[in-house]
Symmetry: none
Subunit: 124 residues, 2 copies
DNA sequence: GCATTCTGCTAACTGAAGCAAGCACAATGG
DNA sequence: CCATTGTGCTTGCTTCAGTTAGCAGAATGC
């Protein structure tokens, strides 16, 4: 149906990036300069036409002063789903769940990441 | 000197991967099957000839049952240095900060993501 | 009115990620 | 002694991330 293979993730990442960029009062070229990428490429990322590598995401995160992980999650390359929560340290989970400013989606993201950390720790 | 552009990171990642694979008693093909990549490509990754994308790294991590994050670090695409958190909504922050099973780095990651959510929310 | 300088976007190219097919060598075993 | 099946590696090929060069429109100023 869609000839564009990266609709879902690409767009949500792109939207988020553009949102962050504009709210930071940066032009495409300014951010591209900060992040060390070309401005047309950044434009394409923001419109969901290209999906940036993790390296590029890290650069962009630095330029925008947001966490690289948050971009990774948005880009779908950090996901943390394997998790079956262990029964350990419920404080973080509860604090996240009860936080009034987070959206349900954001809560899920945080909980997933947290779960992956806990699982990882017990694994190795 | 070296005609190979990705010596440092590529090799340390490759060495680590091969180490993990062999100690897990897996052949190239077995792991490539588990991770959903081709076996020649995995071979090249392990020898530092190719540098895998974050997606591939995630798959490999899953197959080896190690954390994706550890591979990202080895691949040089996760580094964790960025942020300066804002001062808002202390509950989640405190719960994360005081969690005993999280590493300092993981705490930082979670706090960064949380900060980006909160910042994003108050921004717009 | 026209030049400058922003803004974002398009087009065409380069280089490398990742693939399928297949090779060379050991070890088994009929 | 040769077929089979395992190991890892090499060779081309396709696809796409990321590039440079340049276009179209809005805002400034001479």
């Amino acid at each position: 149906m869609s000839k564009n293979p990266l609709n879902d993730l690409g767009e949500s990442l792109g939207d988020y990036l553009r949102e962050q960029r504009t709210s930071a009062q940066l032009s495409l070229r300014q951010l591209s300069e900060l992040a060390g990428v070309s401005n047309p490429y950044l434009s394409q990322i923001e419109r969901g036409l290209k999906r940036p590598s993790a390296e590029i995401l890290q650069q962009l995160a630095k330029g925008l002063e947001v966490s690289a992980e948050s971009l990774y999650v948005r880009a779908g390359i950090l996901d943390a789903e394997t998790a079956h929560p262990t029964s350990d340290a419920l404080d973080v989970r509860r604090a996240v769940a009860e936080d009034p400013v987070l959206t349900a989606r954001q809560k899920k993201t945080l909980l997933d990441i947290y779960a992956s950390y806990v699982e990882d720790d017990s694994r190795q």
